[in-house]
Amino acid sequence: MRSFLLLSSSILSLTACGLCRADMKPVDDLVLQGVTGQSGIAIGLELDINVVDINGDGLVDINNGQFQQVTGCGLGNFDSSPAGTCRLALNFANRANEWLVLKDFYGSLRIDNLYLDGGYLSAADSDPATYDSSKFFDSSGNCLLGNGIDCSDLSTGVGFENLPAMVVRMPGSYSGGAFTDPTYTPGSPGTGGVSSGYDSIRMGLTIGGASIEYGATGYAQNNLGSFLGISIADNNSAYAGADVRGSAYVFGF
């Protein structure tokens, strides 16, 4: 399995700055305060599992519109040894020597524009009438909100809306420097249509088959066929696409 977590160039630049500080011109706080668009950080996320990137350019090699899986994978043979080279095996508690083996398992995930920031719950402008106090008590009935807040009176302490949160934003489909609405263009009869702009999340996944395999090394066996396979893709691409918009406020107590 190979996986990549690539941060955007902005983060890499920040990292590089630490190495070459002597050659850079210092910028004081006053100047920085005038800079716009500096809130948060943007990242791109790439995750590849058992797929080929021959030249190491970070791009998955596509063959006949599909991922090119690693050698020995994707053979579609689920009932004879040896096992394929790409598989994921799960073993549950009290199920000794019984492995749920996912066979011909490979895929790729791309998230190009994910924005991380810090913030306060007030930014969500949620309706206070939706409050459910039962979610904020522990098993003994103690209020967990902390910061002096009483679960029955949210205005106490720092106030509920002043609780901090990690904010994750996805602004939607991105194309050529702008965020736009995705589209679908019907094809002519027999050719199928094409979706465009559904690129907030792009994901392709193949699990060719699955079965229970037995023994201490059942995870490495391929004897008992398959009862189910799963594929995530697009009619015109190895990647299924989705348009995602919104903000997630992640907080805890």
Partner: protein
């Protein structure tokens, strides 16, 4: 789950949300830019790590009309054929105006006429009522019949700990779920039919499913997923519990528009805006599993043929405490039956009855629906401007003065009325795959 093995290597990620929050705070503060939001130590000091909350604001998710999740069948056999199911265009969108996957607007103001809302859902999960992932302890009987009610760990009565994901319990605006389904029968794995194959070249059925509602019951109970260790000393395996909650309107349809849109395998059809079976004012609650004596478990088939079993376990045998809890038997009989369990009652049920028993209402039972009603209950509807005949056979005189015993009416929509299922109790459910080996 106790272990994971991957043939190409092992990897593990353990990202503490608190660490992430602190990292973010440090990163943000260190840049010392006034426009950025810094999180003070004082604000973070109240965090104890007991739970993670995720609120979603102005949220919208729409998978491309040509993108799909496919469940692939195994080769057919005697008396059955291979089946492959694709789910295209899975989406979670807002109310108001919308379009279909083909790109057309929708003729009707009814949200069920459109699978895709244009807008977002403003309070998808409010910060006051977020998705909540937490560990929690609940009182209850375990599989052996022991009542577990002690907070402190280590004793025979200690409450088991469960990991649970709880959905929002108050949702101001309805969500719109939808997907385009395609079932292909008899696919030739070695030579599958081409995109655009017609019905003589491939056997397939396309449909659309739309739900416009809320992930809660009408009385505000949320959906809950629990992960736990099964409290059965004979099988302490990985277990799941799911409390399903849903209210709103539902439509399932298959008719295409008459505008000449495609009708081929793997092509996006232009569905009619009105046709289909509708369920209005649905309210459904279904608990699968009970703390701490019934859970959903995963297993193999006993002969070891490679197939997979998902099972909602049976109740333990002959334990009065568990049976009384599960069935909500009352024990308030009087007279010569004093102290004897009375069984089900129509009134004065124990509170536990509403936690162990589910229900499904299709339509508001407080009103009677006319035969052409399209706002409540269950009805079938033809495309706009088209009609169909509905038949009924009566034993004597038919309604509205029609004395024929074979009674029929012609119209665009016919309402079947409301339906109601109460006291849903799932004692045992077992699903076994058959395709392996």
């Amino acid at each position: 789950m106790s272990s994971v093995s991957n043939s190409m290597g092992r990897w593990c990620c353990n990202l503490s949300w608190r660490a992430a929050l602190n990292f973010l705070a440090i990163f943000t503060i260190s840049t010392n830019v006034s426009a950025m939001t810094s999180l003070s130590d004082e604000a973070l000091s109240g965090v104890s790590g007991a739970g993670i909350a995720v609120a979603l604001d102005d949220f919208r998710f729409a998978m491309a009309p040509t993108s799909y999740i496919e469940l692939t069948g195994s080769d057919g056999g005697a008396n059955w054929q291979r089946g492959d199911a694709r789910y295209y265009g899975l989406s979670l969108t807002g109310g108001g105006s919308g379009t279909d996957w083909y790109g057309d607007g929708c003729a009707s103001a009814d949200p069920l006429s459109c699978p895709l809302g244009v807008g977002t859902i403003s309070d998808f999960a409010s910060v006051y009522n977020p998705f909540l992932l937490r560990v929690f302890q609940y009182e209850g009987y375990d599989y052996q019949g022991t009542y577990r009610n002690q907070i402190a760990p280590g004793s025979a009565n200690s409450m088991p700990t469960v990991l649970e994901l709880i959905g929002p319990s108050k949702v101001p605006d309805p969500w719109r779920w939808s997907f385009l389904g395609e079932l292909e029968v008899g696919r030739n794995a070695g030579s599958p039919a081409d995109v655009g194959s017609n019905h003589s070249e491939a056997t397939f059925l396309q449909s659309q499913t739309i739900i416009y509602g809320k992930p809660i019951t009408a009385d505000g109970r949320p959906a809950i997923l629990r992960l736990l260790k099964v409290e059965n000393t004979a099988d302490p395996t990985f277990g799941l519990m799911y409390q399903s909650a849903l209210s709103g309107d539902f439509r399932f349809s298959v008719a295409h528009s008459t505008d000449g849109g495609p009708d081929g395998l793997h092509e996006v059809p232009n569905f009619d805006d009105n046709e289909g079976v509708h369920f209005k004012n649905v309210d459904a609650f279904l608990p699968l599993g009970q703390l701490h004596y019934q859970a959903i478990t995963l297993d193999n088939v006993a002969p070891g043929d490679g197939n997979f079993v998902i099972e909602l376990t049976r109740l333990p045998g002959n334990d009065a405490n568990i049976y009384n809890d599960f069935y909500s038997f009352s024990s308030d009989c009087t007279g010569v039956y004093s102290g004897v369990d009375c069984g089900y009652k129509r009134t004065g049920r124990p509170e536990r009855y509403n936690e162990t028993h589910g229900y499904v209402y299709w339509g508001d039972p407080s009103s009677n629906n006319s035969d052409a009603n399209t706002t409540d209950g269950i009805y079938f509807k033809a495309p706009a401007g088209e009609t169909f005949q509905a038949y009924a056979r009566t034993n004597n005189s038919a309604p509205e003065g029609n004395n024929s015993i074979n009674y029929s009416m012609t119209g665009n929509a016919f309402n079947l009325g409301d339906a109601r299922v109460e006291g849903l109790l799932v004692q045992h459910l077992k699903i076994t795959s058959l395709g392996a080996n």
